[in-house]
Amino acid sequence: MAVDVRIPTIMRPHTGGQAKVSAEGTTIGEVIASLVGQFPGIAGQIVTPDGALHKFVNVYVNDDDVRYIGKLDAPVKAGDVVSILPAVAGGA
């Protein structure tokens, strides 16, 4: 299934500046693999060396945080929009 992936500004140097790219997969894991296949430099920004989603990255399928719908097994279908957002936090 082809899905649109929204790339946050900080990762765009890895996608040649593109804010939106296309990727293939039926799960988030497959979509990420497809993304990394196209843009190898982006891997370290999204997943840890053992393949899990980084804590400081939020991934959404449409309006759903993938943490609650299966993480890397979260299903995606054609036309879904996957959004990758960095975690934004700080303190006093």
Partner: protein
């Protein structure tokens, strides 16, 4: 240099006070600066603080997503993040620097320590903090 519209500036201060005793936070929407021109923030996306703390803040990811979409709909981008320091100065803490997610962003801090609020803005790149002037401009 960061330009804030009147309305954005007021909303930021209001949200900071509304958040007491917790830290308040939000995202800035607008146009990034270019060579010779400062960034222009015309929208403040007041968000909740997922950390619910007087000392730390976390922008709720779902609200971040909504802000990104809204900014895009308006032909703008998210150009920075705002948060309050309830009892310390308006300067990035080690936590702020360590967790700064985007070197292109403007980091606005509002201190509520004194009787009058202080709003200051910074660029944080590779752990280096550089303060930048903030200019409040008429709404456009």
């Amino acid at each position: 240099m960061l330009q804030l519209t009147d309305a954005t500036y007021s909303r930021i201060l209001g949200h900071a006070y509304d958040g007491l005793p917790m830290e308040a936070c939000g995202l800035l929407g607008g146009r990034p600066g270019g060579v010779g021109s400062g960034a222009h923030a015309s929208v403040f996306y007041a968000t909740g603080n997922d950390a619910h703390s007087t000392k730390v803040y976390t922008i709720p990811p779902k609200e971040h997503l909504r802000a990104e979409r809204d900014a895009e709909d308006r032909g703008l981008e998210i150009i920075g993040v705002v948060h309050s320091h309830t009892h310390t100065e308006a300067y990035p803490s080690p936590t702020d620097v360590r967790q700064a997610p985007d070197p292109g962003w403007h980091y606005v801090i509002v201190s509520l320590r004194d009787d009058a609020p202080t709003l200051r803005s910074y660029r944080i790149v590779d752990g280096n903090i550089a303060e930048e002037p903030v200019v409040v401009v008429a709404d456009r």
